[in-house]
């Protein structure tokens, strides 16, 4: 199904540019062309399809559903909603307040905030396309688990006291039910608008991700990572997580890097831990959440996720190593 992109890359790198497949440059250019074309075609198709479906699931509706669900199932539901809801970090603050105000428990709200950037439809479909079902399933299940467990722990520790006081005073107005065009044409138009907006927001990350992936692929010696960060180095996983904390990329941009690192023989657990750390925790996101959460809660949030990702990394390296 994706062979067409390989052939296109063959043609561009080896025929059009006359590079040799045996050179580092030829290899890197081939990787870049193949991934750029494949990822952008996939990205547009997926975002459009999900955009059309999304006309059926608005955040306002999600809030109502979550508020009306019992505590236990609500955690699982919040994880899934996090995965299918578009998430722009600029909406994090109003969403957070909106959920708490509707009576959704703090833990459930945090589950949503953890899974949303980490697990989403774009990441899932691209992981399947580039890395196969097995890694995708692992990523999905562990992402969900970390989100749900994180929410439960936050709830058990009574972290509500670390929410900024003004949040509890906000009273939300009558929820605005904006008329959605439910005709097929309306849904298609919405899908197209989502493509413009989401691809417009992520394309640069994807391009940088592919560039880094291509560089790693072409220029890093085959045994470099295996020697320095292989399965027998116990510090590789925590190091990958620490490196990932301040950095931010969305999941779509991370996938080409993941692909290249796995190709270099880095263990799956180490790579997934790096990907989770980069997508789920970042300096900009912590700054946005600081508007609603006090410092101890933020520190706990970052530390919990870091420990969880290190655990995930070791676990997979042990199972699959």
């Amino acid at each position: 199904m994706f062979a067409v992109f390989t052939r296109l890359a063959d043609w561009v790198a080896f025929t059009l540019l006359g590079l040799s497949a045996d050179t580092k440059l030829g290899d890197a250019v081939h990787f870049f062309v193949e991934d750029v074309t494949k990822i952008f075609v996939l990205l547009v198709a997926i975002v459009f399809a999900i955009g059309v479906l999304r006309t059926m699931l608005t955040p306002e509706r999600m809030r109502r559903t979550l508020a009306g669900t019992r505590r236990g199932p609500a955690y699982v539901l919040a994880g899934f909603l996090g995965a299918v809801t578009p998430f722009c970090s600029c909406s994090a603050v109003p969403l957070f307040i909106g959920l708490l105000e509707a009576g959704v428990p703090m833990g459930v709200t945090m589950t949503f905030l953890i899974t949303s950037p980490m697990v989403n439809e774009v990441a899932v479909v691209m992981l399947v396309a580039l890395l196969g079902w097995k890694i995708t399933a692992l990523y999905f299940v562990t992402g969900m688990t970390v989100g749900i467990v994180g929410g439960l722990v936050i709830d058990a520790l009574g972290m509500e006291r670390f929410v900024e006081d003004y949040v509890w005073k906000i009273r939300m107005g009558e929820v605005a039910e904006v008329a959605v065009d439910r005709s097929l044409r309306g849904r298609v138009a919405f899908g197209a608008a989502q493509v413009r907006e989401i691809v417009g927001r992520v394309w640069l990350y994807v391009l940088i991700g592919i560039g880094i992936g291509a560089g790693l692929h072409g220029y890093v010696p085959q045994d470099f990572f295996a020697r320095h960060a292989g399965p027998d180095n116990p510090f590789a996983v925590p190091f990958a997580v620490l490196v990932g904390i301040p950095l931010y990329s969305n999941a779509a941009g991370m996938i080409p890097v993941v692909e290249a690192l796995l190709g270099k023989g880095l263990p799956v657990g180490t790579v997934l831990a790096l990907m989770m750390s980069i997508t789920a925790i970042s300096a900009p996101e912590l700054m946005i959440l600081r508007k609603v959460l006090k410092v101890p809660m933020l520190a706990f949030f970052a530390a919990f996720l870091a420990v969880a990702f290190v655990g995930v990394g070791y676990l997979f390296n042990a199972i699959l190593g």
Partner: protein, 78 residues
């Protein structure tokens, strides 16, 4: 004159939305007063959780994402 409020914490999408409305209004020769609302409490007061939101003459007409150009035209004419 239409009083328009763009609700949002100042992210890129909110700026784009405000610009889109201003441009459309100018094209159509309709006088508008556009105000950006960045205070979270005020935004939530309108019952909007997903930003940017658009309020025209006190009524929420849009929430979440950059509105379509045709929709903006409809609000301005309506």
């Amino acid at each position: 004159m239409k009083r328009i409020k763009v609700l949002g914490s100042g992210c890129a999408n909110c700026v784009t939305t405000a610009k889109l409305i201003a441009t459309k209004a100018k094209d159509l020769g309709i006088e508008v007063d556009i105000e950006k609302v960045t205070d979270v409490a005020a935004i939530m007061g309108y019952g909007v959780m997903s930003t940017p939101g658009v309020v025209i003459d006190g009524k929420v007409v849009h929430a979440g994402g950059i509105p379509a150009a045709v929709a903006v035209e409809r609000w301005l004419r309506g």
